[in-house]
């Protein structure tokens, strides 16, 4: 694609980067067929190709963007399905982040929207504040009908039940001989919603010979703020993490483990976030190189032998977009679940987002609902006993549309290797697996004809 930035604009390294990305797009349009918002609307401006054109025009013009441009760019889920599909590998993730930062700096949103976004940016990254906000939200339920629709739909997303567990900085000793020493990103939203995930992760890692450090000073990865265009706030969170894990490195560090894939994507990209910040580029790149999704790390360690007491339940594995489209981690969770004895079902249209997408389901409830329902239909079609995934956002989003228990992959692995039954399965009657579950697969069933 040809661009028309002035030399003066191109002196800004952020514009220079955007320009280089824009020039790689040649409008093949493969992205359109896998972009959820385009597939649902058939609106070119709701496709990656269309948005790239809008970004080009917005950045070339400079200053305040058009409200329509902001609307179409806001509607992007950043699921990055387009990046998987793109034949020429346009670096869309960094382009849309650049566009969002430009909008944040140059566009004055209506008051209600400003308030909502500020509230999310200030509250979600802090688990205790988020927990308190949810409690307050629940208490004021009788007043919800009086609120504007935007606020009502946000409050509707407060889960009916949460299991918070905010971890203090500490070190969890390895069971047996120490094989690895790792730092765990305890997370923000996840700790306020579901402490079982960290508990299962820590048990699993310890059981596999890992010393697990919750580093003092580490916290939100910055992802939520970054994707709302609040780049400096994101950098501030990331800087704290890099410094906190940097201190842990003094005692040896084999990995920074992340069990919320949206966060993992951001931590793995810290090198880009700090590429132009003297003094931070190097440590950021070092931390990014250590970042691993928990499933990646466990696969490398090798899953210890599962106990025999967990039946081979049928598990539908839902790929979080951040894991499949950015981190390219899709085989490891499946392989681990199989190794743990479960029957794993792939979900049709797995490249499609479930509508969670960070704060997307709070800010764009209608599209998020359409995508959530679509995903739930596909998951249900696989007839699973349990749904497993690797991101708290997806777990929460799916819980609104699915009537099957949803757990994090690590909770099942933990259970199969001696940990407790995942709390989400308590009180749920699961079908007894057929004796030869594997006979369901066609290849095995049809061996005779070959």
């Amino acid at each position: 694609m040809q661009t028309n930035f002035t030399p003066s604009q191109l002196r800004d390294p952020r514009i220079a980067e955007a320009n280089a990305i824009l020039q790689t797009c040649v409008h093949y349009g493969f992205c359109t067929n896998t972009c959820p918002t385009y597939v649902l609307t058939r609106d070119e401006n709701e496709s990656p190709r269309g948005r790239i054109d809008l970004i080009r025009a917005m950045l070339e013009k400079g200053g305040a963007p058009e409200p329509d441009t902001v609307r179409h760019l806001d509607n992007c889920l950043s699921c990055l399905s387009c990046m998987t599909t793109c034949a020429v590998k346009v670096d869309y993730v960094h382009l849309i982040d650049r566009a969002r930062a430009h909008i944040e700096r140059n566009f004055r949103r209506p008051l209600g929207e400003r308030l909502a976004r500020t509230l999310l940016a200030r509250v979600l990254p802090h688990p205790r504040a988020f927990g308190a906000a949810m409690a307050l939200g629940r208490l004021t339920r009788p007043l919800w009908p009086l609120l504007p629709p935007r606020w009502r739909s946000m409050l509707d997303m407060i889960p009916p039940r949460v299991a918070p567990d905010v971890l203090a900085p500490q070190v969890f000793r390895a069971e047996g001989a120490v094989r690895k020493r790792v730092a765990l990103l305890a997370g923000c939203v996840q700790q306020a919603l579901n402490g079982d995930i960290n508990a299962a992760t820590i048990r699993l890692l310890r059981g596999h010979g890992c010393e697990v450090v919750i580093a003092a000073g580490s916290g939100c990865c910055g992802s939520l703020n970054l994707h709302m265009g609040r780049e400096e706030e994101a950098r501030a969170f990331a800087r704290q993490n890099i410094r906190a894990w940097g201190r842990v490195r003094a005692g040896g560090l084999d990995g920074v483990i992340i069990n919320a894939s949206g966060c993992g994507t951001t931590v793995k990209d810290y090198s880009h976030l700090f590429a132009r910040e003297p003094g931070m580029a190097q440590p950021a790149a070092e931390i990014a190189a250590l970042a691993r999704d928990v499933s990646e790390f466990l696969w490398l360690l090798g899953l210890r032998k599962p106990t025999a007491r967990v039946p081979a339940y049928r598990v539908a594995y839902h790929d979080p977009c951040s894991m499949q489209h950015v981190q390219k981690v899709s085989e490891e969770p499946r392989a681990l679940l199989r190794a743990a004895g479960f029957e794993v079902a792939d979900v049709p249209e797995r490249h499609f987002c479930c509508g969670s997408a960070g704060t997307y389901n709070l800010l764009h409830p209608e599209m998020a609902k359409a995508l959530g329902e679509r995903k739930a239909t596909h998951i249900r079609s696989t007839d699973p006993d349990i749904v497993a995934t690797g991101n708290i956002g997806c777990m929460t989003q799916l819980s609104y549309y699915l009537d099957r228990p949803i757990v994090h992959t690590v909770e099942l692995l933990d259970w199969a290797t001696g940990g407790p039954k995942p709390p989400a399965l308590h009180g749920v009657t699961l079908r007894e697996p057929a004796p030869a579950a594997s006979a369901k697969t066609g290849a095995a069933a049809s061996t005779a004809i070959w």
Partner: protein, 506 residues
Amino acid sequence: MVTVFETFFSEIATAIGADAVNRSEETLSRYGENTMPGGDRRPAGVVYPASTSDVQKVVRSANAHGVPLYPISTGSNIGLGSRSASSAGQVVLDLGYRMNHILELDERLGFAVVEPGVSYQAMYDELVRRGNKLMLDVTSGPPQGGMLGNALDKGAGYTPYFDHFGFSCGMEVVLGNGEVMRTGDGSLNHERLVNWHTSKYSFGPILDGLFTQSNFGIVTRMGVWLLPRPPAVQSFHFVFPEDDDLEEIIELARPMKMSNFVPSLFRVANDLYLCGSEGESPEYRLSNGRKSISDAGRRALQQKHGLGAWTLSGAFYGPSAAAIEPQIARVRDHFMKSGKASYIAHEVAARIPPLKVAINAFSGIPSLGELGLLKWRPGGGNIWFLPGTPMDGKIANEFQRLCRKIYEDHGLDYTVMNVCGARFARGLHVITFNREDPDERARADTCYRRMSEEVAKRGVFVGRAPLDYHDMHFAQTMPGFQQACAAIKKALDPKGVIAPGRYGIH
């Protein structure tokens, strides 16, 4: 004054819904885009029917107002036309948006019935969801490409069910006059049709072929046969070092296919076809795209990826890898006897991305890897030249030398894969060029035309063609063929509303 188009679109909006018509500026601009040298073709509008009945309404309205329609399935026909109509001002009938359902899937008899918008990925997902008992044949192109559109354009894959039109069975077609016709056993005037998608050889003439590479009707439903999924797929790969080794490769491959000892087709890909998917040409920017890549540059790429001037790939199917081992051993002995080949085993090939593409294709798994070829040169230009050669080594090598020379005369990079059957190999020639560079664009155009003329002089025609060259190729056909096409067009689409100009039929 209300134009014919305004009346037409208004009528369509009333008949099938206002949201079935899209005339936004962005839509018109993007649906006109393609990758060919001749430029974009902006349509007059885009219509999204949801059913065969909707298609009938649109066709009847088009007849009433003399509006030309251009049906597409998923619009992923990159290098051959994308979503672009035959000429600007036609109305794109996008069947992929709403007519994208798998209507039937019979696992006992091994067939599916699909609407035009069903992609390879969607079918694969559905088969996996049902337990992976059946395997579809895929192209190595975009997973979101449409099965029905590909079959109608005579597309192909690589497994024993490679011939997508050949393994289709039973169509529903809206003819140019708006009438609906069922082909094959579906022609029986009865509500319950038992053999529509299981038997091609029913009463009367086989009309299905009329709707391939033509514009006589709009196919809204088609049966597709599916292979029982084999428990094991084991590929084999042989690397040959020299360009002229193609002669020997073809001679070695032919008996393996004539006897059907090897059940898959052979992919005989040259160095750039395989390495080109891994990044931009390392020499493109040195000559500003004016020169072909050097022999030294090609050798460096071959070494980098552990490949040669040619790589032959094929696959066996069986109950287990161990059971297939004797067949692999025999094919290995056969190809190694030349003394030139080196062997790459399945497990090793699975770690070489360009060969992993082949393994996926042999396994009926849609994958994206080969699309990387499209970035070999910047600027998004891409056309496919698709002639064929008999499975005769001397002739195949003569064509190799001829086309390689023509590419080089035009400063372009010879990129080809011969997909070999028993008697014939389709030569998938990729012309990648910078569409934003007028000189390079013109060279790509001349290169295509020159190759078309030269192979035609030697008695060879193309099997599929990019939109830019439909008229040129149609002019290469004999008068009797042209007259027959014109007569059929007049009979089935008397007002000429369906894709006028497609495959040269006006």
